[in-house]
Amino acid sequence: MDITSLFTQFLSGLTYGTILFLVAAGLSLIFGVMNILNFAHAALWLMGAYFSYTFWNLMQSYSFAFWLSIPLAGFAAAAVGWVLEMVLIKRIYKRELYEQLLITYSVALILSDTIKLTWGVTNKLIVRPEMIRKPVFIFGAPLDSYFIFVILAGAAVAIGLWWFLKYTRYGHIVKAAVFSREMVSALGIPIPRIYTWVFTLGIFLAGFAGGIQAPIGSITLGMDTAIIIQAFCVVVIGGFGSLLGTLVGSLIVGEVMSFTILFWPEGAMVLIFVITAAILIVRPWGLFGTPMRT
């Protein structure tokens, strides 16, 4: 294989990794702060994709419809996430692990069927604006021009989150809460409200990621069950609650998938799970995570 093709596969992996990052970022945040593994995360991601389709469909006559539908999808999903948090997730903060997992899993089931009821079973296709229909060539390697936007969006989200955590007061609180909830609570900061906003933010990210995914191929039911497990792998490899970890984890998964397909196509997913299992055995809190407080 020549350099150009290797570079092409690398770009391909980078793009897929960015998509995974956008999905996993919210998941990691929610788990890191609230200690809840949100099985419903991918369902909300898919809902975001469907939302963006609806918004795009409604505003089709306007040229900015395509671009605006993406953040709108994030907000719509965030609204759903906010309601979910207030009505349901609030009740399970202190519950046992199995209860939390069952609840979020049930929410995933309910949301999947809700999507089916609302949008039906046929594929949804978003037509791209003219300027991103042709590929661009980077050092001779072709890249879907939309993917440039995807990678930029991913970078923007990563930088935005990093800046938020490092430089804003709320970000500091969130980072502290990942480390120790008790201390944050002892400082008089209301934990439940933090949780609500963190959850909503996490779901906004999921919905936004869904909006980004929507113009790639088509939107179909069942996309969520395929990606939730990969998102888990990303978060496990990178480390719960660590932004850097999620970024690194998603790039690892993206590139491993991309290159393994070339020489061992059946083994791509197997390899991902072997890596995930290995990390769990050797360093359960992931590459960049903090060891779990019990």
Binding site: P142, G222, I261, P265
Partner: protein
Amino acid sequence: MDFRKTTAFFVTVITCLFFFGMTGVKAAEPYNLGVALGLTGAGALYSADGVEGIKLAVEEINAKGGFLGQHKIELFIRDSQTKPDVGVREVKDLILRDKIRAVINDYSSAVAVAVKPIAQEYKVLHIAAISNSENITKINPSPYTFQVVPNTYMQGKASAVAVAKIANQKGWKEYITIASDYEWGRSTQDEVVKVLKALAPNLTLKKEFWPRLGEAQFTSYITGIMAMKPDFVFGILASNDNVAWMEQAKTYGFFDKIPYPGSLITVTELQLQAKTLPRNMIALTRAPFFAHMDIPMMADFVKNYRAKYNKYPSDWAVLCYDAVYTLKQGVEKAKSIDTEKVKDEMKGMTVNLTRGKLTFRAIDNQLSCSSYVGTITDDPRYPFPIYKDIVEVKGSESERPESEILEARKAAK
């Protein structure tokens, strides 16, 4: 141990069972027809059309009183999720709980192959209208299973013959296949490669790609293939996967750079991707309505379908509509809805369908129907491109010879 509680619980359950058990009995009069298609999952796109075709057929037949004018058809539609185990479960439920006499199944060849022995065990007619793997009829044949769609051998041969001709003309040397990694993809790819080897000996198969069924991200495959610069690519993907693949490949300029002849591009893709589909591509499909508008049954069907659904019927609507009418004619020939009589009469039967007057081969219950190869071209009559210069490869021209089938069956034992 908590026997007490458990027993109390089970007593409650029994009472409920009794109550619900009684509702399982159905009157003999209506004809219970089951439909188990992949309404979600990779087959959703094609299956949805299939259901529409079935519903239209059932409406028309029931308007005249049902089968034999007295047995109204009651439809039971279930989702097999394009998964064999779910399909088997749903069909079993349909048979045991809803007492269906026939089931139209599936989108996925894997599901149809799994359902075949179940239908046989419970003596229920099984009509394959979308899924078309040859293995549904070639080996382990069931007297209850009938296929009204051209099978993978027939389709593979039809398109491979066309592609071989082009390859020889243009002096192509290397090609790559990309096929969905499941029963249909494997069966078709197998056949295509064999025919190409026989008819275009200068060709080498450079590499095979096998994306899994339900794959949504084709980027790595697209870039991988383009890097290898083959003379042409043969694609074997369907439904959701096919749409995703083509849309994504298009954004890489794939079809401008690499010839993509002979792949499955059905009326569904023609309609859905009307704006973006590359023109002048040579493609293959199974039951395009525009190839038979001269047949009155097809013209009527298209008219009624458009009136009901406000769009043109895809191959799957045609095939499933034909499936219901095949059943109707079987019932009429047997003069009874009794499954045993119907299945005996359907063997080797000639039927009048939208695609013409066609006959089932007695050896494998495969309908001798045509495969269609043509060039994608715009047509002023329709809001989407259709096939021009259609080559209708008849069943008799593309079927596997009976001797080979007998050999395959002996080998499978």
